[in-house]
């Protein structure tokens, strides 16, 4: 390998996420956070399954990269658990609850680019409502 070759940015994979997919993901996420921002949704990221940031809303680029990598590992452990215990093939969602909030992760089974939606919310969030709208984000992203 040529050591002088341009190093990839740590935030984004060099491929195959198109700018088109990025901008659609950004648009869909912004609408979601605008709609649910009043009820506790703080920030959200869409990441590739290997943990690269595709689009994020209401967080710095560093935070987006961190939540992307964390969500990728958690999601992979979810799939591993489901397979090992024999309750399915892939996980669909994972909820982490703390004393003050939630992280909610959902699988986006895009045909060319499998992704993950990860949402950070405070305890004010109504989980049922959050999941309802998160499913819509996932459905739109699969079409994107």
């Amino acid at each position: 390998m040529n050591s002088t070759a341009k190093k990839p940015s740590p935030m984004h994979a060099p491929r195959p996420i198109s700018e088109d997919l990025r901008s659609k993901a950004g648009y869909i996420l912004r609408l979601f956070v605008e709609k649910l921002g009043g009820i506790g949704v703080k920030s959200a990221v869409i990441a590739t399954t290997d943990g690269f940031d595709v689009a994020s809303v209401a967080m710095s680029e560093e935070e987006g990269a961190k939540l992307s990598a964390l969500s990728s590992s958690i999601s992979a452990i979810g799939d591993m658990a489901i397979k090992e215990i024999g309750t399915g093939v892939d996980h669909q969602s994972i909820t982490i609850e703390s004393e003050s909030g939630y992280i909610f992760i959902m699988d986006i089974r895009h045909p060319n680019c499998p992704m993950i939606l990860s949402i950070a919310a405070s305890k004010d969030a109504v989980l049922g409502k959050l999941i309802y709208y998160a499913r819509q984000v996932v459905a739109k992203m699969i079409e994107a």
Binding site: S3, P14, G51, A69, S72, S73, P114
Partner: protein
């Protein structure tokens, strides 16, 4: 039955998952996903952990854990290091700066290494290409870390067992 937790870490595409697969007696549990990063030069990459087991005689069993290689997953390195009794650092010798790579893992796992045991393994090594094995040893000595550095093909079960032996010798010496 005495069980020890051994951790495999090191650069992307050095063969951490492969090493565990070479010796594990159970189907290896892995968290490989499709890689979007073309610079890694491979289709799939570990994002959480690998797990396998190997017994040594009737009395001892090793639980083998593999970390993701990419540094952005270093939070998993800390999670997996808990309770480990030995560390195998695999370095892909064909990468542009293998010495710098090794330095990252030595610094990150310094506490674990000093408290337990460590073997550094150079994989995919072509002895005619620099840096030589001794250069790695010298670099470690400068950091006051005196541990074995070997070149190995981790696709070969016998060689991975030999690496584990190098760890166990150190672990026994500490008892």
């Amino acid at each position: 039955m005495i069980e020890h937790k051994i951790l495999f870490t090191g650069t992307v595409s050095a063969g951490k998952t492969t090493a565990i697969q070479s010796v594990s007696e159970i189907p290896v549990i892995c968290t490989d996903v499709l890689s979007n990063d073309l610079t890694l030069g491979k289709e799939a990459t570990t994002v959480a952990l690998d797990y396998g087991e190997v017994s040594l005689g009737k009395a001892e069993r090793l639980r083998l854990y593999g970390t993701p290689g990419q540094e952005r997953f270093s939070f998993m390195w800390d999670v997996l290091a808990q309770g480990a009794l030995g560390l195998v650092i695999l370095i892909d010798h064909t990468r542009p700066e293998p010495l710098r790579d090794l330095s990252i893992y030595l610094d990150h796992f310094r506490n674990l290494i000093q408290k337990t045991a460590c073997v550094v393994v150079l994989s995919k090594m072509d002895a005619s290409r620099p840096p030589a094995l001794e250069t790695f040893t010298e670099m470690m000595q400068k950091k006051h870390l005196v541990y074995p550095v070997v070149a190995a093909d981790v696709r070969d079960k016998a060689q991975v067992l030999w690496i584990l032996d190098l760890l166990l010798v150190q672990m026994e010496a500490r008892l």
